[in-house]
């Protein structure tokens, strides 16, 4: 069975992610122990939290080194969700400038309303439009412009255009999916995005 380690760093909607992974046929293992990553076939770094606080907890539990080993050296597929995607970046500004995991060349900055009617945080369902015109493997089987559930006040600015998989039209447009190969991140919550979200998780499990 597809063993999926879901990293518990003390802030995150772990139960929902685990439940969605199980629904998609994965063996969800919520863990606080970095050594569990070595036996996992896939890793999910979930969301909900504040950047500086999230990184502090991730480091305190020893996950930074373990993630580098598994993801960068051993190519274990990783999916970052919401804050989990943001923490893949070089650095973030929420809660004071803090170094991220540095897997993706970019910064996490505040969403800035493009006009007086735009409200922040960005909360609710919004489209995800593929950067390349066709569906990246993570979105296989889903039409371009599908709605997913977002709840965030910050977003990733990525210096590498080739890593941008999808964007969402809010606050001038932001990156809603990023990555390459088996290193992936999504700004929305697939575990809360009903059928489309479960499809993304199923795609991740079959990579």
């Amino acid at each position: 069975m597809n063993r999926v380690a879901i990293i518990d760093y003390g802030a995150g909607n772990l139960a929902s992610v685990a439940r969605a992974v199980q629904e998609c046929g994965g063996d969800a293992c919520v863990t606080q122990h970095p050594e569990d990553l070595a036996t996992a076939e896939r890793i999910i770094l979930p969301g909900v939290g504040q950047f500086a606080e999230g990184m502090k907890r991730l480091r305190a539990r020893g996950f930074e080194a373990a993630l580098k080993e598994q993801v960068l050296a051993r190519d274990t597929p990783l999916l970052g969700i919401c804050l989990g995607m943001q923490m893949l970046a070089t650095r973030g500004a929420e809660g004071g400038e803090t170094a991220g995991l540095g897997f993706i060349d970019g910064d996490v900055v505040r969403l800035t309303p493009a006009d007086a009617h735009t409200r922040v945080p960005h909360i609710g369902w919004n489209e995800v439009s593929y950067e390349a015109g066709e569906a990246p493997p993570l979105f296989a089987g889903l039409r371009d412009g599908c709605d997913f559930y977002f709840v965030h006040g910050w977003h990733l600015r990525c210096a590498r255009a080739d890593l941008v998989l999808a964007r969402t039209p809010y606050c001038g447009g932001f990156i809603s999916a990023v990555g390459s190969g088996s290193l992936l991140g999504v700004q929305f919550h697939p575990e809360k995005s009903q059928r489309a979200g479960l499809r993304v998780i199923r795609n991740f499990l079959s990579m």
Binding site: G124, N126, D147, H152, W154, R195
Partner: protein, 252 residues
């Protein structure tokens, strides 16, 4: 484009689904779990679950019940009732809440808003404001499930909550609650004009038309409703079809 959310509200007293009128005359209308399962099947945009007894009885949230609800939900879940500490929030998020709604504690201990947003980010903190209209037409905030008058203007409380780090406002007009006579559009307009946060309008929805009005004239980002979904044939999908026909962005 960001879609308008149509959100059923599930009110619980000891695990039973209840609905009242103007925060009073509560009656049992079914089981919480049954309602959650139905809304999950209908793929609603988001669900609001409020335990209306927890604070009044001095209880912490019922984490077991929230875990049961979250197990049935692949939809976003906002949970409120009895939240008094950062630890309560951590446990609710752990068992599957996506956002938490703080009402009484946001007024009685405003520092909690800052603590929650510093730990978990603003995006997961909904400040829930219940307002009642006085005979002179002014609005006043009430806490403890509408049993204690806080004597503050809801617009000021919303603005204060925003500056302390709230991510969203759930604004309920107590006088309209359960009446199905329409939202308090004026109250909603006052709050949406003052804050830049998304505002969820609540209290009074009877028809899809009511929802359209509070969005178009009140500036609401989302509409919450309970009575019209429990007691009439109206479904969240009917509402969204109506909103779409009026040119409002919804997820169908």
């Amino acid at each position: 484009m960001l879609k308008i959310r149509v959100m059923p509200t599930v009110l619980s007293r000891g695990g039973e689904l209840v609905k009242g009128v103007a925060f009073d005359s509560w009656r049992r209308v079914g089981s919480v779990m049954q309602a959650v399962k139905i809304y999950n099947l209908r793929e609603v945009d988001e669900l609001v679950f409020l335990d209306i007894d927890a604070t009044v009885q001095g209880r912490v949230p019922d984490f077991g019940l929230v875990a049961d609800i979250a197990r049935e939900c692949f939809m976003p879940l906002t949970v409120g009732g009895g939240i008094r500490s950062v630890e309560d929030v951590r446990r609710l998020l752990q068992v599957g809440a996506d956002k938490v709604a703080v009402n009484t504690a946001a007024f009685e201990a405003p520092g909690l808003i800052e603590q929650i947003s510093a730990q978990f980010g603003s995006q997961c903190l909904v400040v829930s404001i219940d307002a009642r209209r006085r005979p002179d037409g002014q609005h006043e905030v009430w806490t403890r499930s509408g049993t204690a008058c806080a004597g503050k203007d809801p617009v000021d409380l919303a603005s204060d909550a925003e500056s302390r780090g709230a991510g969203e406002i759930l604004l309920t007009a107590i006088d309209r609650d359960g009446t199905m006579t329409g939202y308090d559009v004026e109250l909603t307009r006052r709050v949406t004009s003052r804050v830049r946060l998304p505002v969820i309008a609540s209290g009074g929805a009877g028809r899809a038309e009511d929802m359209a009005l509070v969005i178009e004239r009140g500036g609401a980002s989302a509409v919450a409703a309970a009575a019209c979904f429990h007691f009439t044939d109206l479904t969240p999908l009917d509402v969204k079809r109506h909103l779409a026909a009026r040119g409002l962005p919804v997820r169908l």
